[in-house]
């Protein structure tokens, strides 16, 4: 079983800012070429997430988030212990992210020991479009640097 690190980009790349996790994940591939790091992207949450993360030692999720009065482009870091609901980790149709993790443990699945969540404050995810909003686009270069630094700390 794979004991490496998975960097998993979440979101929908045709719903404007919601695609930021996917785009950042692809961007990180340029910076991290270690064989021990695997990259993937999904547009799923809840129970489906369990299938993707099983067997890895470390998982870094990159997702969008919308918080009250959040400043677009802000990069957050948290773990399941101080979890905040992001845009795609949970699934209305089955279970929340934290419940999925509990189920994984209950069923003796190989739930990763270390889970990290990097979330980016977004503006728009209800309108179809392949571009970010101007607010997020403007901050994008800065977001990339912050996310890269966070991933670097976790991976190394």
């Amino acid at each position: 079983m794979n004991k490496h690190t998975l960097i998993l980009g979440l979101g929908n790349d045709i719903l404007m800012d919601d695609g930021i996790g996917i785009r950042l994940c692809k961007k990180m591939q340029h910076y991290f070429s270690e064989e021990s790091v695997t990259f993937d992207t999904v547009s799923l949450g809840g129970l489906e997430i369990l299938e993707f993360i099983q067997g890895y030692n470390n998982v870094i999720f990159i997702d969008a988030i919308k918080t009250s009065d959040g400043i677009p482009g802000t990069v957050y870091y948290f773990t399941p212990a101080d979890f905040k609901e992001t845009s795609n980790l949970s699934n209305l149709h089955d279970v929340s992210f934290l419940t999925a993790l509990e189920i994984g443990k209950k069923l003796n699945m190989e739930v990763p020991e270390h889970l990290h969540i990097i979330a980016i404050e977004i503006v728009e995810d209800l309108t179809f479009g392949e571009d970010f909003t101007p607010e997020v686009q403007e901050k994008y270069p800065e977001i990339v640097v912050q996310v890269r630094d966070l991933v670097d700390k976790i991976v190394k």
Binding site: D94, V95, T99, L126, F128
Partner: protein
């Protein structure tokens, strides 16, 4: 007057909520169920080659991407005036049965079962899928995940990807099924059939054997006498992939049938100022408001309505269960909202059995995958049954096949009016003067719309799992007098 506000806590604050208004006597007077809608799909696909749209629509929603892909693929067939080959139809349908197996298992065990297997009055910490696993056993929880995963594997094998499906092309499918793959799917489908029958047994043992639960289903504030819609085959049997749309009235008599390209002559959409999402109704009857009864224009499109609108199931065990359900519940049509859970399990058995039937037919490995007798593209409508209702895709193109107009009526949108009415009826039956409104009450109201397997991902994009909620009880002036939270 008091206003009760149930807000799903989402990243979309202020979106997706239930407002319950009571009078001075504490009786529920009105209920508003509000959800926002995704914007700009039509504009997004405008100008794109129509044959690309089936791939694009899989990204509309992560919950039922296969349904959108299938309705879209059929609409594109119609745009090019081409019928898929028999092999292609079988392959598409096989994929679709696996999609249904996957989704119906999820709903029963993660969303429906907590109310019955654990119990509607159980402590909220236990009334979830973990509580179900505690009750039925870890082995069964493992089997749930296993069967879901296998269903995903079949979809990925046939569709090219489990979520972003690339299977459908105009007049057929992109790739065929090899003999060794067919045999593998046969073995897996046998597992589906056994697991579907086992799930029905759990429902029998835990729900139907419990008089209190049966009483809630039959006599609780969960019934709605409205018309029933469903796709049926030439023998009026339930069909998820193809056929005509049939609507039966509140007495079970056929009210109308229509082919996909006749949907605009049969379905209209009501706009209400308090909701972003429209309210489809039967054009023939007209909009008479949010009312029940034979004269109402409101219909539902759910597992239960599909069974009501049909003359039976096309596979043997599903047919037995169909007959048993109507026998126990007093004949057709059934109007008990919570019977949707039962109907969903009948459908799960049908999907599993039909999956096996299709895989056992060696013709599915044929190589006639695509009919390329295309006509000049113009306009097409595709209709399938999504897990949560009849799904319609309609595209118009120029003569180069570039999209000029698109329109979708998604599964749950059909049920917008019924869900609103069911919530109101449940609230009226449960929230009374002197009744303390607590988490249990909140759950009883929530059960009314959970039965519909509502998925507003097409409309609200996504919401956190298990629908966390806040119930605000307000005085008439808007001041909050009590807040109940469920994380």
């Amino acid at each position: 007057m008091t206003r009760y506000s149930i807000d799903p806590i989402t990243r979309l604050e202020g979106h997706g909520k239930i407002e319950i208004f009571t009078n001075d006597d504490g009786e529920v007077e009105n209920v508003y169920f509000q959800v926002p809608e995704l914007r700009g799909f039509e504009k997004f696909v405008e100008g794109r080659p129509v044959e690309e749209v089936p791939q694009i629509v899989t990204k509309i929603c992560g919950v039922c991407p296969g349904c959108h892909h299938m309705a879209s693929g059929k609409a594109v067939d119609a745009v090019f005036g081409v019928e898929p080959t028999n092999t292609a139809k079988m392959i598409r349908e096989l994929f679709y049965m696996a999609h249904f197996v996957h989704s119906h298992i999820a709903h029963f065990y993660a969303l429906g079962a907590p109310d019955f297997v654990v119990g509607p009055g159980a402590p909220k910490a236990e009334r979830n899928v973990l509580g179900v696993i505690n009750k039925v056993g870890v082995e069964i929880g493992t089997e749930v995940l296993k069967q879901r995963r296998i269903a995903q594997e079949i979809q990925a094998l046939i569709g090219g990807h489990q979520t972003h499906v690339v299977m459908n092309v105009p007049g057929g499918v992109r790739k065929g099924i090899k003999e060794d793959e067919r045999l593998d799917i046969v073995a897996k489908s046998k597992g589906f059939v056994e697991f579907a029958k086992f799930s029905m047994k759990i429902f029998n043992d835990v729900v139907l054997a419990n008089k209190d639960y049966v009483d809630i289903i039959v006599n609780g504030p969960y019934s709605l006498k409205i018309h029933s819609m469903g796709l049926v085959d030439a023998n009026n049997k339930v069909n998820f992939y193809d056929g005509k749309v049939r609507v039966v009235d509140t007495t079970g008599k056929e009210l109308l049938t229509y082919k996909p390209n006749e949907y605009l002559e049969n379905i209209a959409e009501r706009v209400e100022p308090w909701s972003y999402l429209k309210f489809p109704y039967l054009k023939k009857v007209g909009w008479k408001g949010f009312v029940e009864g034979q004269d109402s224009g409101v219909y539902h499109a759910t597992p239960l309505s599909r069974l009501n609108a049909s003359d039976g199931m096309a596979t043997p065990v599903a047919q037995e269960e169909y007959e048993r359900m109507y026998s126990v519940l007093g004949g057709k049509p059934v109007n008990n909202t919570l019977a949707m859970h039962w109907a969903r399990l009948v459908e799960l058995i049908y999907a599993a059995e039909h999956c096996l039937e299709l895989a056992e037919n060696k013709e599915i490995t044929g190589t006639d995958l695509r009919n390329k007798m295309y006509q000049t593209p113009k306009e097409g409508v595709g209709i399938v049954e999504a897990q949560r209702g009849t799904l319609t895709h309609h595209y118009q193109t120029d003569d180069r096949g570039l999209v000029t107009k698109a329109n979708l009526i998604v599964g749950t949108t059909n049920n917008h009016a019924p869900i609103s009415m069911s919530i109101k009826k449940a609230a009226q039956g449960i929230i009374k003067k002197g009744v303390k409104v607590d988490d249990g009450i909140l759950n009883m109201v929530e059960m009314a719309f959970r039965a519909y397997d509502p998925c507003f991902s097409c409309a609200t994009h996504s919401l956190p799992g298990k629908m966390p909620m806040i119930l605000n009880i307000r005085k008439a002036d808007g001041d909050i007098i009590q807040t109940i939270k469920r994380d």
